[in-house]
Amino acid sequence: MGRVVALTGNEAAAEAMRQIDPDVVAAYPITPQTELMHKFADFVADGLVKTEVILVESEHSAMSACVGACAAGARVMTATSANGLALMWEIVYIAASLRLPIVMTVVNRALSGPINIHCDHSDTMGCRDSGWIQLYGENPQEAYDNLIQALKIAEHPDILLPVMPTYDGFIISHTLERLEVLGDDEVKRFVGEFKPAHPLLDLSRPVTYGPLDLQDYYFEHKKAQAEAMKRAKGVVRAVGEEYGRLTGRSYGFFDAYRTEDAEQIILCLGSSAGTAKEVVDELREKGRRVGVLKLRMFRPFPAEELAGAIGHASAIAVLDRAEGFNGVSGPVGLEVRSALYGRSAALVGNYIYGLGGRDLRPELIVQVFDDLAGGRAPLLEAAHLGVRE
């Protein structure tokens, strides 16, 4: 059923968008997302999709157009990176609070400044509290798979939240890899038809989007949004299992690799997990009990399940590809620690690594495992891995 192809991460995402054939795509180019939209624009120009592409003058307008189109009742997608996402900020929050199931691929790139076009997670970590579901992909296969699942999660009637599938800029977006893609009709069947609950264009059922909401109701609307985010866990799991039945590739909240009996575990997101798995295999050959947990879903945060999967380790290192500028910890480090609080006695060290596209070399991962085994993990204050003194 699956077709084996060689695609870059961006091409894989564009292929998924072609197969989904969304009603509206509004986007503005930014490296390293640009190639994705180039490719998709080709599909539009070649008549392979019926999508209406709205070319806008900025990312703020791109997300605004997405909000308008989605409220009107359209199935809407977009994509961006780094500063583009930052420029969208205001509307990113509005999309989530209006409960609009927009799917936006974010090709992770370092935020300026100094200006840098390469990968880190400062862009998506910056909007981790914006109310979007976040799924981090490791490779082009996951870029493709996550995008298709993202739509089904977003549009689930119990959820109605926007989803941000991400993958690492250049490392994945511009790297050609082997992957399996589904048939067009399989994708269309899987995502189904979008049935908007309250489309603005249904004139027989008038509805107001975005009215003033003061002390008497704003809090209740935020509570309802927070509850939808909690419910999303069940839907992410169910959609991941359904996708597994279709493709043989099941998805959950995370991917635990050789962690069951591991004494030291590294937790990371995105492409770094691939490198970490290689190192784990090498160290296992030497008899070291090490493992890696790749966190796929950062929002909602699977605290309980995570504690169940890694809480038995004696020491854990959380690798953050974003600086928190709090003098203490990166964003993932903070959340993993609080997830384990009261659930596990494991020591949690935290490393900031790979900012601005700096490589995470295997030697650095070995060094982290050595720190964990030797009781040298940075527990109270994150260490910066691979930075020159």
Binding site: S97, L98, R99, L100, L160, A197, H198, R205, P206, V207, T208, Y209, G210, P211, D213, D216, Y217, Y218, E220, H221, K223, A224, Q225, E227, A228
Partner: protein, 111 residues
């Protein structure tokens, strides 16, 4: 005002699913000063009706008859525009302001 709903009872995203419901939202409580008309002076020119940004001037068959205090926010535009100075703005807490036509000092939605 109707009993306020809990978060489980609300449509998602703060949407309002009924049309034309602004009248149900009682904004008169925001008022600091209330307009009062002296019908002895009023010439029924209806400039106040034309200018009121909240459509709170009651008019009956060409006659200015009073105010919708449920929604009048006390901006004072009517008093400012009235060519014969028939409208005065009185502090809500000033006893001389008296009660409104339904006997309530601070207007509330009809039960």
């Amino acid at each position: 005002m109707a009993k306020e709903k809990g978060y489980r009872e609300l449509p998602p995203g703060g949407l309002i699913l009924e049309a034309g419901n602004a009248a149900e939202y009682i904004t008169g409580g925001w008022r600091t000063y209330r307009p009062q008309v002296d019908k002895g002076l009023c010439t029924n020119c209806l400039q106040c009706w034309l200018l009121c940004p909240d459509c709170c001037i009651h008019v009956d068959d060409g006659t200015m008859t009073g105010y919708d205090y449920d929604h009048c926010k006390g901006c004072g535009i009517c008093a400012r525009i009235c060519p014969v100075k028939a409208i005065t703005m009185i502090l809500e807490t000033d006893p001389r302001g008296g009660a409104d036509e339904r006997g309530q000092f601070n207007s509330k939605k009809k039960a």
